[in-house]
């Protein structure tokens, strides 16, 4: 099993949910976070001098636990749903981490059966 972490634009939150649903990925955890990347937030031009105006931007965080079989589909769906296509920075990042075990609390099922 793998954990797919996607940090995306909040505006793409529901589009992402729909796309995941359509790909048969219906279980995930998501919450709003604050984040930034190499650009250090949003910059504005002021008097010819560049300065950082907004240090952190609101983002939506998805944590999706998938089986190996669904991993590449999940990544493709996330990229497709979140590319704004104008070449603008801020579309987000996707990270893949190993998930050792999963337990369904209600039935004590383990591993891939619990995902």
């Amino acid at each position: 099993m793998k954990e797919v972490i996607a940090i995306i634009r909040p505006a793409k939150h529901f589009a992402t949910r729909k796309a995941l649903e359509a790909a048969g990925i219906s279980s995930y955890t998501t919450f709003p976070v604050l984040g930034r990347s190499r650009q250090r937030g949003l910059r504005f031009q002021s008097g010819g001098e560049e300065f950082v105006a907004i240090k952190f931007l609101p983002k939506q965080y998805f944590s999706i636990v998938v089986t190996e079989a669904k991993l590449s589909a999940a990544i493709a769906v996330l990229i497709k749903a979140n590319q704004t296509g104008d070449g603008n920075v801020g579309d987000g990042k996707i990270f893949v981490l190993d998930m050792e075990d999963a337990v369904r609390v209600s039935t004590d099922e383990r591993g891939e059966k619990a995902v």
Binding site: I5, I7, P32, R40, L97
Partner: protein, 108 residues
Amino acid sequence: MKMIRAIVRPEREEEVTRKLEEAGLFAMTKLQVLGRGKQRGIQVGAIRYDTLAKVMFILAVEENEYDKAIAAIEAGGRTGRPGDGKIFVQEILESYTVRTGVKAGTGD
């Protein structure tokens, strides 16, 4: 690549950010969380607080940035008292930039 999750005092949030910036690490995600350690929260008079407000930082760093990231978080977050927080680290297997769809380290 490594995924670092650091849970620190909310009043040290700015300081941790500043130390990370000084170390050349600008990319990070943060969120407000509630948590406790082995002290099981805090007792103030008759009132017991089961969980305390904390800030979680999530950072993806390259192997060569790892040591300075940990050092920066420690330097920014440490007061020397219980409640300064914890840092957890996991291995990142793959990472992608959504804008380009490119997998890090593959160049295509």
